[in-house]
Symmetry: C2
Subunit: 453 residues, 2 copies
């Protein structure tokens, strides 16, 4: 359909929705590509988004849902009537169904599951029992499985019959099972090219194939694919029954999502992704929940300053340096937090290796503390022509840098042992400790030499 | 070989290196798995690491290099004599060769390239001309390509002959080229199962296949794989000659690496990854380079406090709140930075949509500013039983939260337009602006009502 090239994509979509042109809409979104579709949808108001998903046929609507980010998909599906949502979810691949429904409120998910095709619903309910970042949560259920007595000809015939359906599968291997659905072998698909037609799979297959339990963690899977140069691995349950296949690319994607959550967590975005298309009260509320904890922690640190008001009044120049000592120590500490989190992810340190991390960080902290202390102390001394001011400010920054760097290195390990998320929790705790400690050092030092300041 | 189970893996490795047991070492590292190997290597001293890589035969040494992280690999290779390094690099897949050599100093890389097998060196030199995060930098050169006149039988024979070699390839497709090496078609490997033996590929292939230019960016590739449900795509140069294949899993991996750099950048780790196995002076130096910029920026903000020393001396209670206002504004601003960076990555906003971001953030900033201002202002009022202190502190935090949140939302867009890395630069700039602004608001308000404080 002809469109004015000056119009933004969401304006075109709005017009197509308004004129109830389902075919035109489907074509337009197809051409738009996923990133532009996501962007256009984020610009529509709620009514228009709803109308759009109801206007499109469920298969096209499912494609839209797959185009947008997880957080957007949840927004879109939540606003739809359950029966409509169910018919759209029905059209999605099983692992994405499970991810999407897992992100919804339990009540909403249950309502949609009740409206879904019973078979689809059953598969998804099983997938939803696995942890999202486990082999069971990452695996796909679209793969090729045959009994061990099937012949090459049986397989070839099945492949030819289901060409269309299998075209979307990632097929490098066929998985071979016994009568009890237990995994007994794998066969690289290309081996079928060289095999006699009448040969049963059990004679061709690689026996005792590698597999991972459905409970394997994302770290386990990353290690597995680091060690073995494979594109997928079969997933078995406690009874060695084959339940799915984990693909290397899906493990990479899950790892990327985990890192994204770290970035967001480090910056104080909690409760999953925030998009600017979300209602302003939801965005404010989520950010405030984290900020208000920070206010309380800040008050604790500010209490130290309050306790030394007399010292501060007598040497007001110190007030200029307090925010600097707080900020610089926070920065030094955060660097150490980042290095520890990275080494934990790479498996280079274990949460119990506190001594090693402490020694490694203390030495960096000492060098940087001395460097920064000399710099700031020197400046303070020159500013007021008072060497004692330099000693107090520089000395405090030096000592506090050692504390901040060491604590920053240790915190992620300690939090990991307490099963807390280092990305979300390290920052506020670190700031509180280094602020309290920094303010205390500078103000107590100043109190002992108050006549000289 | 029998080993004491109480010994740490690196102690075993040390002993095996000391006893020059190349075979035992190779077996032990094979069983250890990549994550444990990386950890053990990070515990060895430089001499032992060198001896290890010289003791192992080049193929085994190459596997060790592939097991460890990129930063570790660079450390290991840099310390080796060029001829030894070259024989190890020779054994690696082409895309990893290019990544590793690209991470080395230009001089070191050139020395190694001169010592490498001429053929390998030529391929790597071409790969190294591409940007690391482009299709050319991400692609593999291990894939199946045949002329359009090759028959199904030719292909099957070639596959059978090179079974071993091809076992490591990710093969879903055969790429078909004309006499000038231009891509003319693709054929799903499984279609060979159904095709007559004498048929030439040109009759079976899908013509006009999808491909991406070697210069395509990582974002282009992410969009491509979002739009098309494929496991790989062919890469062509300016003359449409086929030069490689980009796999979906490698794009996912590159995206994960980019996010990791963001995490590190946000925390002030510059110049690539830092590992605790690096020399302490290198670690200190890199961290200090970022910290010293921060000191200077902090001094600018502290200058505002220095200018208002008289006000502060007259109302010393304000000194308690200055670090809090600085910290809380920084936190609020960083949340907005994270949301903008995420929306930029997802393609939901463009760097030029400043007005939209400003309005969306200003509204959140206003709500959160009022909430936080009332909270902190109320506490200040109660503490000193002085409503005016509450007005100054609460009012300043409220206004500064609006500034911080709006600036935080806009900064990543502005930095992107200036082609600066938002992850590395947003934090320090934001802190400086919000500190200056916050200190100015609170102290100038206080000055106008100094008798009441």
């Amino acid at each position: 359909m002809p469109t004015d090239t000056n119009e933004a994509p969401w304006e075109v979509v709005e017009q197509l929705v308004a004129s109830r042109d389902a075919a035109g809409l489907s074509d337009y979104l197809d051409d738009l590509g996923p990133s532009e579709t996501a962007r256009a949808i984020s610009r529509l108001d709620e009514t228009c988004r709803n109308d759009l998903l109801i206007l499109l046929d469920p298969r096209d609507a499912a494609e839209v849902i797959e185009d947008v980010s997880d957080a957007q998909a949840v927004e879109l599906i939540e606003d739809l009537p359950a029966d409509r949502a169910a018919s759209i979810v029905d059209q999605m691949p099983s692992d994405e169904q499970a991810d999407l429904l897992g992100d919804l409120d339990e009540e909403d998910a249950e309502e949609i599951l009740r409206e879904m095709t019973p078979d689809e619903a059953r598969t998804v309910r099983v997938l939803m029992t696995y942890e999202p970042d486990s082999a069971g949560g990452i695996m796909v259920t679209e793969y090729l499985r045959y009994g061990q007595n099937a012949t090459v000809e049986d397989v070839t015939r099945d492949l030819a019959q289901h060409r269309e359906q299998y075209a979307r599968y990632d097929i490098q291997y066929i998985y071979v099972i016994d009568d009890a659905s237990r995994l007994v072998g794998v066969l690289p698909l290309r081996e079928l090219l060289f095999a006699p037609h009448a040969a049963p799979l059990r004679e061709l297959m690689i026996t005792d194939p590698l597999s991972v339990p459905a409970t394997a963690s994302l770290e386990d899977l990353e290690n597995f694919f680091d060690q073995y140069d494979l594109f997928g691995v079969s997933v078995v349950d406690a009874g060695r029954q084959l339940v799915g296949v984990v693909l290397r690319s899906d493990v990479e994607e899950a790892a990327a999502d985990r890192t994204t959550r770290q970035v967001l967590g480090l910056s104080g975005i909690v409760g999953g992704e925030e998009l600017r298309s979300m209602p302003v009260m939801v965005r404010s509320g989520r950010r405030l929940s984290w900020l208000s904890i920070n206010v309380v922690l800040n008050l604790v640190a500010a209490g130290v300053i309050a306790a030394y008001q007399d010292t501060l009044e007598a040497a007001i120049a110190l007030a200029v340096f307090l925010p600097m000592i707080s900020d610089m120590s926070g920065c030094s500490g955060n660097q150490a937090v980042a290095v520890s989190m990275r080494e934990l992810t790479l498996g280079l340190i274990r949460p119990n290796e506190l001594l090693r991390v402490m020694l490694k960080e203390a030495s960096v902290g000492l060098i940087n503390g001395i460097a920064l202390g000399l710099l700031l102390g020197g400046l303070a001394m020159l500013w007021k022509s008072n060497p004692w001011l330099g000693v107090v400010v520089g000395g405090a920054l030096a000592v506090n840098t050692v504390v901040a760097v060491t604590m920053g290195g240790l915190l992620p390990l300690l939090l990991k042992r307490l099963r807390l998320d280092p990305a979300l929790v390290s920052g506020p705790i670190l700031t509180t400790i280094t602020d309290m400690c920094g303010f205390f050092i500078v103000l107590s030092m100043a109190t002992t030499m108050i006549e000289k300041l």
